[in-house]
Amino acid sequence: MLAHASTALTPHGAGRFSYRVPARHLLGLEGMPQADLLGILDEAQFHREQLDRSGIAGRELEGITVCNAFFESSTRTRVSFELAARRLGATCVSFSSTDSSTAKGETLLDTLRVIESMRVDLVVVRHSSSGAPAYLAKTLAAGVINAGDGQHEHPTQGLLDLLTLRQSWEGRFEGRRIALVGDIAHSRVARSAIHGLVTLGAQVVLSGPPTLIPQGVEALGVEVVESIDDALTGADAVMALRLQHERMDQGLLASLAEYARAWAINARRVRLMRPEALVLHPGPMNRGIEIAPDVADGERSVILAQVTNGVAVRCAVLRRCAQALTEAA
């Protein structure tokens, strides 16, 4: 991604740009080779086991400084990154846009350059603009970790989804079918999950209100299924996506009640899936809207396991990016 747009011009301009992202960054799961994905998941599984044996902390990131730069509000992702960084012995600071110079008109790039000048090694960025971390990675010497950019990707969320599924699926993604349900159009969680799942060989089906299914999404290697019941029948897992209330104001939905009737993951719909099927949700949940409370708290739900895995995945990602940074130096 550093050497962007340097390809020779063809009059057709078609053909996807191939780009290589230096290993000190994690910008997305799109294009990440299967071996790299599995490598991160293996390491994350190790960290998960360390986490479960409480009290054991690592020192892998000693001497590394991590800055969480959050230009959009977040609780779980930010706390999760902080815990992961501190667990491995890194110095970790955080700021959010409300208490930063961005309110004074400083550009995103200038803000991050200032942070970098304080000898920060890794910046964890959340921003409302799709592509903002990729844009920063073109300029900064620090490693850039995408903690959610607009409607593009949320790679550590995608990785924790994969880790959670792998723990129950005995490491096998081929032949598994997972349904992603709800607001695909505005979901960075969905995009990262799709890229990771497709790379690992799972079959991904999407279902949701037609106003929230983006144009041409099939090009990502997924299938759009109009009927949610068809999407769920025989599935190995379902991921309910968070529904933002502003979709009503934008004329994309009629009402929350109608959405819940048509698209909520409820007990009846869970029974359409295979008996051992899993229920995932990236959080924060709107109980009773995209997911019924009894399903969220039910025995098929792995929603809290996802959160625990989140810390483990971020340990693995921070360590790998830090290692790439040290090796390059």
């Binding site: 991604m1 962007h4 747009a5 340097s6 020779a8 011009l9 009059p11 057709h12 301009g13 078609a14 053909g15 996807r16 740009f17 780009y19 799109e30 550009t107 995103l108 790039l109 921003h127 603009s129 799709s130 592509g131 903002a132 990729a134 844009y135 950019d149 607009g150 409607q151 593009h152 990707e153 159009a185 960075r188 995009r191 983006p214 144009q215 041409g216 999404v217 099939e218 090009a219 990502l220």
Partner: protein, 438 residues
């Protein structure tokens, strides 16, 4: 009495004959078969068989003055124009303030008089402040020299307002240039709607946002008899609408731009803001339809939509960066590279599309290689290869998606009213006298 200039041994762009062209007082005084070399008058330029053609006209340029001189000025924009072979440009009124009255039209003439390297034809706004609410004084602006009217960049969403504007402008005899975009359909879109936008998580602009308005304004041309010129058309549906309107005999004309036949939405790659413009780069099917519309005459002329921005404005996350790319200094090469070399149109037709055609669309005086014509001329090497390097652009804007591209077709020299306004570095050795930058 000005000196007589002799352009010796040029190849006539249309007939292919070797000619000597003499110029005095800003006009061509004679065109004769090339004589023996050695007839070197004081001001003789040895064209050595390079192609001599009428100067190009770009009817869709943003010179950014008044008010946005960090992006471009009349000086820098017209310098870029002559480097691209253009002897005249029409400049859009979406400046700060908006050119919506005769005083600003006159100001542009004065500024051009002082700073301009080529002719500048102001385009006045259709409505005051381009707000789409109240008609601007189009009669006064036309008297002051406005060649057309446009709310470019701020489409007139009210069909009623557009109807009245077309009726009002009709007796003035100047076209209304329409940037066709239904703003409600565009919403907060930043690139073409489709798989690439979905992959990047960028909100899309469907091509229907353009085609709906093209259809509307074809029907309003029919209702009013007013002259509509469609700016920068980008998609198959728009070409179909214009094709149909012409079949119905409606008073409509249309332009498209090099990026729509050179590139598709894929050129955005990983959020390249230099491939962000409005209308956006579309699909491969639209790119092919653009070429077909040029071939069958649905497209009347070419234009660049030269839209310079500062590096800082473009160096932002994709959805925060402004729309627009520069085009003046790459237009001819992209035409040769994308249309002539692949055999879509002949070189002669390509030159027509940049010279005779835009003059016809805007009713500007014709330029011919003939005695008495204005000496607005361009000397071309259609087979020279070069690499696009925006750091050497004369424009203040360096926002091009073609950086590093190898292209074919070079402008060697440009004369505006008989004055040598530009010579290419590769050509300067052939000049008999040192030429000042202006």
């Amino acid at each position: 009495m000005s000196h007589t200039l002799l352009i010796q041994n040029a190849r006539h762009w249309r007939t292919g004959e070797r000619v000597d062209v003499r110029i005095a007082g800003g006009v061509i005084t004679s065109v004769t078969p090339a004589g023996p070399r050695g007839d070197m008058a004081e001001h003789t330029i040895a064209a050595d068989g390079a192609l001599l053609a009428p100067g190009f006209v770009d009817i869709h340029v943003h010179l950014r003055e008044p008010g946005q001189s960090a992006k471009e000025t009349v000086e820098s924009g017209t310098r870029a124009a002559v480097a691209g072979g253009f002897t005249a440009v029409a400049t859009m009124p979406n400046t700060s303030p908006v050119v919506d009255n005769a005083a600003w039209v006159e100001w542009l003439h004065d500024r051009t008089e002082r700073d301009g390297h080529c002719r500048v034809h102001p385009i006045g706004a259709v409505t005051i402040g381009q707000k789409g609410e109240q008609l601007a004084e189009m009669i006064a602006m036309a008297k002051a020299g406005a060649v057309a009217f446009s709310d470019d960049g701020r489409p007139i969403m009210s069909a009623e307002m557009m109807r009245r504007a077309l009726e009002y402008a009709k007796p003035i005899g100047r076209p209304i240039v329409c940037h066709e975009e239904d703003l409600t359909l565009r919403g907060k879109g930043h690139m073409n709607e489709g798989p690439v936008a979905t992959r990047l998580g960028i909100k899309g602009i469907p091509s229907a946002a353009e085609t709906i308005m093209v259809h509307r304004d074809c029907d309003l041309a029919e209702l009013t008899g007013g002259r509509v010129h469609f700016a920068h058309l980008s998609c198959a549906g728009s070409f179909d609408a214009v094709r149909d309107a012409k079949r119905r005999g409606l008073p409509v004309t249309a332009e498209t731009c090099p990026h729509y036949w050179m590139l598709t939405e894929e050129a955005i790659g990983e959020y390249d803001t230099n491939a962000k413009m409005n209308p956006p780069l579309r699909s491969e099917a639209d790119r092919r339809a653009t070429i077909a519309a040029i071939q069958d005459g649905t497209i009347d002329c070419l234009a660049t939509d030269h839209a310079p921005h500062t590096a800082d404005e473009k160096r932002q996350p994709f959805d925060m960066a402004p729309f627009g790319i520069v085009g003046l200094e790459t237009a001819f090469a992209l035409t040769v590279t994308g249309l002539v070399k692949p055999g879509h149109v002949s070189l002669t037709r390509a030159i027509e599309l940049w010279s005779e055609a835009p003059r016809r669309v805007f009713g500007l005086p014709a330029v011919e290689l003939a005695q008495g014509s204005d000496a607005d001329l361009v000397l071309l090497d259609p087979s020279a290869e070069w690499t696009v390097d925006p750091t050497v652009f004369h424009s203040l804007g360096r926002n091009t998606p073609f950086t590093g591209a190898t292209v074919t077709g070079r402008v060697l020299a440009t004369w505006v009213a008989g004055r040598l306004a530009h010579t290419d570095a590769t050509f300067q050795t052939r000049l008999p006298v040192t030429v000042g930058s202006r």
